[in-house]
Symmetry: C2
Subunit: 467 residues, 2 copies
Amino acid sequence: MTQLQPVLLSGGSGTRLWPLSREAYPKQFLPLGGRDTMVQATWRRVEPLTSLPPLVVANEDHRFLVAEQLRQIKAPQPRILLEPVARNTAPAIAAAALCALEDGADPLLLVLPSDHVISNPQAFRDAVEQAIPAAEAGALVTFGVVPSSPETGFGYIQAGGGQGAQPVLRFVEKPDAQTAARYLAEGSYFWNSGMFLFKASRYVEELQKFNPQMVAAVRTSLEKAKRDGDFIRLDKEAFTASPSDSIDYAVMEKTADAKVLPLDVGWNDVGSWSALWEVTDKDANGNACAGDVITIDTHNSYVYAESLVALVGLDDVVVVETDDAILVARKDRVQEVKKVVAQLKHDERSQAVLHRKVYRPWGAYDSIDMGARFQVKRITVNPGATLSLQMHHHRAEHWIVVSGTAEVTRGEEVILLTENQSTYIPLGVTHRLKNPGRLPLELIEVQSGSYLGEDDIVRFQDQYGRS
Amino acid sequence: MTQLQPVLLSGGSGTRLWPLSREAYPKQFLPLGGRDTMVQATWRRVEPLTSLPPLVVANEDHRFLVAEQLRQIKAPQPRILLEPVARNTAPAIAAAALCALEDGADPLLLVLPSDHVISNPQAFRDAVEQAIPAAEAGALVTFGVVPSSPETGFGYIQAGGGQGAQPVLRFVEKPDAQTAARYLAEGSYFWNSGMFLFKASRYVEELQKFNPQMVAAVRTSLEKAKRDGDFIRLDKEAFTASPSDSIDYAVMEKTADAKVLPLDVGWNDVGSWSALWEVTDKDANGNACAGDVITIDTHNSYVYAESLVALVGLDDVVVVETDDAILVARKDRVQEVKKVVAQLKHDERSQAVLHRKVYRPWGAYDSIDMGARFQVKRITVNPGATLSLQMHHHRAEHWIVVSGTAEVTRGEEVILLTENQSTYIPLGVTHRLKNPGRLPLELIEVQSGSYLGEDDIVRFQDQYGRS
């Protein structure tokens, strides 16, 4: 039997679920459906189907997040293809297919966006098994979600009927409300979910037929890729030369071998705060509350609180509180959150891109206070991780360890610090911070100086390729 | 001519404008009407009318706030009567009257709640001048606000007509909507504002007539008061023995000498978020926004932001964001904020009483981060101020000065620290922090230990009477 190679697409711009998601930390990295993040849940959902490790296609900027989140759930060592620029799904999947073909096998690619919720994973796995025969026979199978409402925000697929994977009659664009209602009534229309199953070779063949230039560009970018541990960095020049297109336009709508497998597994793309409200457990008043929330006569609302949020006399609102931005919106207007993000981007505000807590390959930092000539950060260093050997021209730093153990290089000396011990790094002194222990290291850094920007850093050595 | 003695009543429970106001920091201490706090604005409004310093009646817990805020605007050295328990306005004003009579004079008391907004202070002063002849002739004058709407939240005063201070025909309780509309139409009804003008002796005389027990109790509490700088601490046992009553019930509704002076000066008691919205300048969409606010298709709303608040598609809401609590309410339901505060009090949550930033006689501290065995505070010490000589049993402290100069007593040694210098206070070591300079001292304190509660403190000496 042909091997099944799950391909996790880690895309997403972080706009629609702002302020919880940000450009640097989009929704697939958030635990929106439960304890796991969405990328973790995506892997766990398919892990029982295969003995192969995940193949991931991710944005260069998210590489450490993907790797760390898969490591946390003890996923087998993944291959992570890094896109130097965004070129939509067709080239991304082409890179995955060519990569999967490299070792001589021709696995079935199970292509999965990593930011969807599926409430019934066993039913999903059953559906995948049902699609396998058609895919092994050379079909390009898409999974079509059985519609539960006359949704106007999705494209639809009309199926030809029959058992298992059905022939695709046509793909249709997002319909108006009346058309959507008709599709729902007719029963042969399904939502286009963006999940696929096909042989790697068949996808490449069909793409070669319709867009040879794309295959050539992606092939070159993979041949010239830099391999760096788990990461496969696609060559920028070659990948940039590829046309940008979705798999639907580039292949699925053109191929004669498209099939669709109906899927009734509690799927939700969590494409907005109102969609998240729908998939979240609600109290007797219809409120979905996460965190410390007090509601007085409030109904059918979604509330996410990091500190304390109190609502009085409101219906159908969304309130999302993070430590540096708060959204309050009418639940049926949450699509317009993108206007807020657009304005923040226009104004070059950090809240469009970053959370207050910023993730780094070695851990994270959170800017907990700031004044005219000082800044206070809480720094978390993962076990075994090491920051770059560095120096600052404009600031001195006090470090106080509050948890775990730090190995501090300061000029020529190397010292060990543990809880309730501190050190001082004068301006201009070369230094390095390492967590030599088995537990996370947490320290408070107090910076003093006339300029405190992140760009006042001279890196001499870096184990993450940043020097 | 008789002297005019402004009496500032600094009451307020901090409930109705939660979370901006808290029990320990109620609304008179907030700059809700502009740059000045409301207590500061109250003094500035009457300062041109008199050469006497303010006489303040305040809650014991707010004594340093009152003193500091008056000092900031260079008000002449006030006398501050401290109520050991709340007994409503009649005993508070009796204490002020007896205190004003102490030095042999018999000034006109101008009694002013310190948490109201008056947009036309000159018109207010003109009104006070108009009321003086009646008060000098022995009348107890109340100021009646010319109603601008059929308000059901205020008591009303019916006036007998005429120029200047008019005879009071009757006081009436908060009316229903229909009655309020009739009062508004008739033109002889005024809102009971809680502001008064009368001779100190006349108030005491009338109160003696109707409630001699109250006068006796307050007189004893003043005789036994502890005088401590600006503070006059009324004797607790005696003051507690006083009946609790409002000046309206205890005196104004009973005296034959009540008069009312109509007041049309842009008065607002800012008794709710919707009242604050009314008195605040609004943009073209009717939104009153303070701080960093983005509104998308939002109208007639009040928004206060300490970080960043974005609103999408909302009308008539109130959003108030502070660093440890956020309120989102329908504007016509803001009275129910008190239910939120009641729940927080019931649950013994600090957000009912304190802000994250806590004011102390020597300055303030703000708890900027906290973990299992550590806490980080930003500490501000006013110029010349000194914290108590103290010791902790369960925590060690790292101090890093980020602005100004610190004089640190640590065991036997005394050291000076300036920006970018630090010290360490081991657990159990007696220490003291002083700001010997002319600028505020700011330092970051990192506490480490197994117990970090505010009550782990042994005070050996304290210049604020807390040891």
